[in-house]
């Protein structure tokens, strides 16, 4: 069996179907209900309270963790967003066991992706997500020992899974853990009659980093005042803007873009993308202010590459012998003194 897909393949689709048994509205829960709080475990809804916090009247749902009786207070309007769900049903738990017992040979090897995905699965994946974390890290531990952080994550995930299985099946947690490990590490010669495991949990795609627009970039650079410091932005910035204008024109033209893309000038001339590029060129007026200095600096830049090899190379052999003499003289002087 292959491992679960790391992310939802469609980047545009951020909203995935809710986890089975998820509580979408606070009205669905009543006092005495058993719910699962992500990363905390099974809790009992102890009551609904109204509290005055810094001048605001908040309606809070009080939940008590079954394991140790710790209280958790959640604003009622946040219940739908924290990933609260009902305790897994027996059929769901059966699916989890069939998933755990299946052969798994594809653990995610990139620790960064793995750790991030596992953290998301524990929060938003439901009981199957927790089982995926346990199974994934367990199969990885067969290849190499887990690092400390992941060892802790594995232990936490195992704890959450065991407690939920115990509550769902109505057995002591010690027995639930034996069931889990019987599926994960069956004794030699044991064969299970397995059903196809449930569909792996899909994680929402991560939001992409927002790329600033070319015009914003220009303004940002102006605000930095690099021109006042004597740092030349003119030549490089202009070149970059010209290139972006060409690309923009090509993109706007669509089918003709391939032709326009060959020459930046052709792309910049035609199409709807051109005005944007023109605006971008026109806006960085302050950046052009030091344009008066440009020719002199450009000349200096052009001269530098030629001057560097000419000046530096001969200087090295000239400097090298000097310290040798100095070193040779120093001890002699010291001795004389």
């Amino acid at each position: 069996m292959r491992g679960p897909p790391p992310r939802h393949p469609d980047d545009q689709r951020e909203q995935l179907p809710p986890v089975e048994g998820g509580i979408a509205d606070a009205a669905e829960i009543t006092v005495g209900d058993r719910v699962v709080y992500p990363n905390q475990g099974v809790c009992i809804v102890a009551g609904i309270e109204e509290k005055d916090i810094s001048g605001q009247k908040l309606v809070l749902v009080r939940m008590q963790r079954e394991e140790d009786g710790a209280s958790v207070l959640v604003p009622r309007n946040k219940v739908s967003t924290i990933g609260l769900r009902r305790v897994a049903t027996t059929s769901q738990i059966e699916g989890v066991f069939h998933y755990l017992a299946a052969v798994f040979d594809d653990p995610e090897l990139d620790w960064k992706i793995r750790h991030r995905d596992n953290a998301d699965r524990l929060i938003a994946g439901g009981v199957l997500g927790v089982a995926e974390v346990v199974k994934g890290l367990h199969s990885l531990s067969r290849i190499r020992p887990l690092p400390t952080k992941e060892r802790e994550q594995y232990d936490n995930a195992r704890h959450l899974l065991v407690s939920e299985v115990a509550v769902s099946l109505g057995v002591p947690p010690g027995l639930a853990e034996d069931y889990v490990d019987y599926a994960l590490m069956p004794p030699a010669g044991t064969k299970f009659d397995l059903k196809p495991p449930p569909t792996p949990v899909m994680l929402p795609s991560r939001p992409r980093k927002r790329r600033p627009v070319a015009a914003e970039e220009g303004d940002g650079l102006d605000d930095l005042g690099l021109g006042d410091l004597g740092i030349d932005l003119g030549g490089d910035l202009e070149g970059a803007l010209a290139a972006s204008g060409g690309e923009g024109g090509a993109a706007a033209e669509g089918g003709e873009g391939t032709e326009g893309g060959e020459g930046a000038a052709a792309g910049a001339e035609g199409g709807e993308g051109a005005p944007a590029a023109v605006e971008a060129k026109a806006t960085p007026a302050p950046a052009r202010k030091p344009a008066g200095k440009k020719p002199a600096k450009a000349k200096a830049r052009a001269a530098r590459p030629a001057a560097r090899p000419a000046t530096r190379k001969p200087s090295k052999p000239a400097r090298k012998p000097a310290p040798k003499h100095a070193k040779a003289r120093k001890p002699g002087k010291g001795k004389k003194r």
């Binding site: 738990i93 059966e94 066991f97 017992a101 367990h138 531990s141 067969r142 020992p145 887990l146 400390t148 060892r151 594995y154 232990d155 195992r158 704890h159 065991v162 099946l169 057995v171 002591p172 947690p173 010690g174 027995l175 853990e177 034996d178 069931y179 490990d181 019987y182 599926a183 590490m185 069956p186 004794p187 030699a188 044991t190 299970f192």
Partner: protein, 181 residues
Amino acid sequence: MIRVATLDPLEPSDVAFLTKALYRAFGVGTENAGDRAMLHHAESKDGRVDAVQLLADVEPVRTFADDKILYVTAAPLSLAPGPLGAPPCWGFALYGGERGVVSTSRFPARGVSEASVEAWRRRLGRESIHAIGHLWDLHHCYDAKCAMHPSWSPNLAANPEMDLCSFCREKSERKVRLAKT
């Protein structure tokens, strides 16, 4: 404090070895609490005793706060079947609770030679540490050399170690430190 109670006769030297092993593993005082009567009503038709019922109904041992009790029996134990069947039972403990039980029925024969007796004792020590580990909130460990590795695992050595891995040791030490009254 860990208190060891025997439900079937056990050699005094074996009990001494066991108390020493438990003290070394958890750093908590261990003593022999004597014999207790075996529950025969928990026995099923196949002669095995239901471990969960045994722990619920067994004759209690007087304890103080945070004390853990380990019962040792020679009777074969069984567990209720789960979604994929019944796991083999070497022992059972109430997770984070007070009582645990270990059965010697699945151990290799004790024999009479020094080596076989030593191997038997080491196995008894390992299973007892495993059960007491559950009482101190330890879960099963994937490390086959750790005493918390499942007893039926195919990765387990024929004569397994009776030590905890560093992660389980640290976790148990933390729990013991917090629980000391």
